[in-house]
Amino acid sequence: MFGKRAFQLLKEQASCEDGQLIQFDQDAFDKVIKECDEHNNQLQSSIRKIEEQKLDIQTTRNENHFGAVIHHLSLIRNKRCLMSYMYNRAEIIQSYKWKNIGRILPREIQKKLNYSELEYFKNHSAVVDSYINELDLDLTVDMVPPKDPYIRVRVLDEIGNEVSLGDLALSLTKDSLHFLRRTDAEPFISQGLMEEFLE
């Protein structure tokens, strides 16, 4: 059945949780590309047959014409599926920049991307960064409406002993509690290294 493989590819991605990525299915992807090639070959040969019969391409309505139409439609359907697959993944990759995951993606996420996607992440981060620098406003902090200027935080992972935040030098060891300015703590919280301590 034409287009079934492309459909499977999309189904895989859709079955994932919102905002999450699955492993890039290079195998399925390549198979769909190959299908497109075959469709194209069939399409070209149908057109050639029409030409050989010395009939007008625009108006002929014989079996070759309809065969060509079916191959053309299947090809563009496959194209739409592949583009949709890549585009949706690219949107999720864009969201990583805004979650403040950092310059380098964590290993588990890196494994799921193909080479072009890794490059896209770097490029996208750079584009956003250059906009931020133009405006001189860090848009990756202050992600939630402020309730308190200071919050209590608990450090989840060892960050370091002599971390300087503003003009304070703190010892951010695991499980230590601190009373920090929200803007200082935000990058750590979004990376999962700290959590807000609510009573």
């Binding site: 590309i33 497109c36 583009m83 072009s116 896209y120 584009v127 848009l139 202050d142 939630v144």
Partner: protein, 219 residues
């Protein structure tokens, strides 16, 4: 809000009228942008003023801290500053997300004129990297004639692969002044009487023009 402190401590900040209403204007612009499915006109004058005021207030807070002012007073100023900062950043972020989502659509229509200069550069760069990425991973492997990013194939008459915002979505809105009898769609089937200060739920497409003129606010 911030300005009432100015009066007490006599600093040379913006007057009560200006500062109060600028934050209000920013809040309104932020709400409209948040609720609207498409990107709206960039409020460049407003943003420039707010940016200046934020910087002034940051300096003021630092002075207070250096003068060992009462903690409570400092933190109230800081809160106010944080709130304004949040509004400003959120406004800019919402716009960037819309650009990221509809980059091709924006660049090919007159929506591009609604963007600030930096946003236009951002759009251009986004398109460059997206095209490169799609070309590298998909399009270069497809047969000749099917390699366009925006057209399904060279036989497509127009760009048929450009995602565009859904203008038919319903939005909550509130009228600022009476508009009177208003036609909701082209066929003149439905006419609604828009009274001042009333809440409505309408399709965004119908009230697009009113939002642009400032006669209606989105909630």
């Amino acid at each position: 809000m911030a300005s009432s402190w100015d009066e007490e401590f006599g600093s040379a900040g913006p007057t009560e009228e200006e500062a109060g209403s600028d934050v209000e204007l920013l809040k309104r612009a932020w709400r409209n942008e948040k609720a609207s499915p498409e990107i709206l006109q960039f409020q460049s004058e407003l943003i420039r003023r707010v940016h200046e005021q934020i910087q002034l207030q940051e300096e003021r807070v630092e002075e207070f801290v250096n003068d060992k002012m009462d903690d409570l007073v400092v933190s109230l100023h800081q809160m106010d500053l944080d709130r304004t900062q949040y509004l400003l950043k959120s406004y800019l972020r919402i716009r960037l997300h819309k650009i990221e989502k509809y980059m091709f659509h924006i660049s090919k229509t007159d929506l591009l004129n609604r963007l600030s200069e930096q946003e236009q550069i951002f759009t251009q760069r986004c398109i460059e990297i997206m095209e490169k990425h799609l070309h590298q991973s998909v399009l270069s492997k497809l047969p000749y004639g099917y390699q366009s990013v925006t057209k399904q194939s060279i036989s497509s008459e127009e760009d048929d692969m450009v995602p565009a915002p859904e203008l038919d979505t319903f939005v909550f809105c509130k009228t600022k002044s009476a508009v009177g009898a208003f036609q909701l769609d082209e066929m003149g089937d439905e006419i609604v009487d828009l009274v001042a200060d009333d809440l409505y739920v309408l399709r965004y497409k119908s009230i697009k023009g009113l939002v642009e003129n400032g006669q209606i606010d989105l909630i």
